[in-house]
């Protein structure tokens, strides 16, 4: 975990995805995320995952950074799954609809094929979600994001909040690490392996006070700069970063429409014929 974990760009890049308008990027991202949230069907998730990996490759990212982040996320997700298993080893019974015992560790702790299948689907789903987020963050600039959100009729003050928040995440992360390092330089142990829970909590609080003060001290400056440029005077606004549609935008517009239709069909079908079990499994049904 270092400051390079975050991928937020300020300058647009040159690849196909980078050159799209903010409008297309935001719409495509939103519909794909909605689709991924509502589905538990591996037949949809797996192709999407492959598509997102292709997209990530097409962006020519810094692979060293990407692997660093991916490794961390994979570990966190696996750990989460392990905790879920600890709480309810027979989770698959409720969502997949079966309980084929593969191994029995004790009366309560069993390993079933269905639970493992569910964990596999869940893992794939979250990896797909994460890679999609990664592609989205690395291909968009904060200002394009504001323009994209504005294009789906979100009030521009909200758009500004989102883009400003994105703009300041790298700065705040840097401050966080600087404060942490300066606290360590004064002889405080922050390594999670060497200190207990209570001490670590106390240290997090110690970082908090200077972080809050430095972060909120910025507010006056930024607000004044924005006021000087007339922010909030008009009812509407336009965005400098929003350029004319490229060929890619024209191709993707019908794709987005189709995805919206697919999403609506899925949701409506889910309401009319709710599936007995949430997760599709090749050896059941």
């Amino acid at each position: 975990m270092n400051t390079k974990r975050l991928f937020i760009n300020v300058k647009p890049g040159k690849t196909f995805l980078d050159r799209l308008t903010g409008k297309t990027k935001v719409r495509l991202f939103l519909i794909l995320i909605l689709l991924l949230i509502q589905t538990w069907d591996i037949r949809l998730i797996l192709p999407l995952l492959l598509l997102f990996i292709t997209a990530l490759i097409s962006l020519k990212p810094d692979w060293k950074k990407v692997w660093g982040v991916l490794g961390f996320i994979i570990l966190v997700n696996l750990f989460n799954l392990f905790l879920m298993w600890l709480v309810e080893p027979d989770y698959g019974l409720g969502v997949v609809g079966g309980s084929t015992v593969l191994a029995r560790l004790s009366r309560f702790y069993i390993i079933t094929a269905e639970t493992m299948w569910y964990f596999f689907v869940r893992f794939t789903k979250f990896m797909a979600t994460f890679i999609l987020s990664l592609v989205f963050i690395s291909s968009i600039t904060p200002s394009e994001m504001a323009a994209g959100l504005y294009s789906i009729k979100i009030p521009y003050k909200i758009c500004t909040i989102v883009s400003l928040a994105f703009r300041y995440i790298p700065d705040i992360t840097r401050d966080f690490h600087n404060i942490k390092i300066s606290i360590q330089a004064r002889g405080m142990e922050l390594d999670s392996k060497k200190t207990g829970l209570i001490t670590r909590l106390k240290q997090n609080v110690l970082i908090l006070a200077p972080l809050i003060i430095t972060s909120f001290d910025r507010v006056g400056n930024i607000a004044n700069a924005m006021d000087l440029r007339g922010f909030g005077k008009g009812k509407k606004r336009t965005y400098y970063s929003e350029h004319e549609d490229t060929d890619g935008d024209r191709i993707l517009r019908p794709v987005i429409l189709i995805l919206v239709v697919v999403f609506v069909v899925f949701v409506v079908r889910g309401f009319i014929h709710p599936p007995v079990y949430q997760v599709w499994c090749p050896w059941i049904s």
Binding site: M1, I33, I37, Q38, V69, F72, I73, V76, N77, N80, L83, M84, V87, E88, G94, V95, K125, F126, T129, F130, S133, L134, F136, I137, K157, T160, I161, V162, S163, L164, A165, F166, Y168, I169, I172, T173, F176, R200, L201, N204, V205, I207, L208, A209, L211, I212, I213, S215, F216, D217, R218, V219, G220, I222, A223, M226, D227, F231, G232, Q278
Partner: protein
């Protein structure tokens, strides 16, 4: 805000303890309708404040936490609710928490959980009710009585947000079995409430003290 007012405050400091003036301003402030207190004043400062709050929430959620349960951690991000609520009001706090949570989901890689984002927004709304019971952190007003009310709203807010709203939405959005959600919900209620009370109350007193010098000045728009 946190700064600037101090300069003017220094000049007229000798009238600091005049209670009459203080009371007058208090009653003037009370005339603001409940509705406008709930919504907050959406000027440029508020917009920037919410944005910084959301960014801070995202960063703290990712770096400033200690994991206690699946996807649940004892995180100092919850303090953002308190600060934004104290400075700008309940709705700005809710917006900051919502976008903060969405952003932290985006960079955190544990998937998108809009049920939790909405839960956090509801919680922040309750936590941000501070101006409604007279706690004016900007003007340095925060009494022990208000601290008690604050503690109660924090607990009620947490119970409503994660005990009612989030499980309901989880069921609606994901039609997921609720066993794990309940575990997460209880961990979140206990963790958040303790962070917001144990760290939040001293922090509010500190901020109020920092701004106390300007009690006898009112800001002109």
């Amino acid at each position: 805000m946190l700064m600037n007012e101090a300069h003017e405050g220094d000049i007229v400091r000798h009238t600091h303890d005049t209670t009459e003036e203080g009371d007058m301003i208090m009653s003037e402030k009370k005339k603001q309708s409940v509705g406008s207190l709930l919504v907050g004043k959406w000027d440029t400062k508020t917009v920037v404040g919410i944005a910084i709050g959301a960014a801070l929430f995202g960063v703290l959620m990712n770096f400033g936490g200690i994991r206690i349960f699946t996807n649940t951690s004892l995180t100092t991000a919850m303090i953002v609710d308190v600060i934004v609520g104290a400075l700008f009001g309940p709705l700005p706090a809710a917006v900051a928490a919502f976008f903060g949570n969405v952003i932290s989901d985006l960079i955190g890689g544990w998937g998108f959980w809009f049920d939790w984002s909405i839960g956090n927004a509801v919680l922040a709304f309750f936590v941000g009710l501070l101006p409604l019971y007279g706690a004016k952190i900007n003007d340095g007003v925060f009494t022990t009585k208000q601290a008690v009310i604050y503690a109660v709203t924090v607990i009620v807010g947490n119970l409503i947000a994660f005990g009612v709203v989030t499980p309901l939405l989880t069921y609606l959005f994901y039609s997921q079995e609720l066993t794990i959600t309940w575990g997460q919900a209880w961990a979140a209620v206990i963790g958040n409430a303790s962070v917001q009370i144990i760290i939040g109350i001293p922090l509010l007193f500190l901020l109020a003290k920092r701004n106390a010098r300007s009690t006898n000045l009112s800001q002109e728009d």
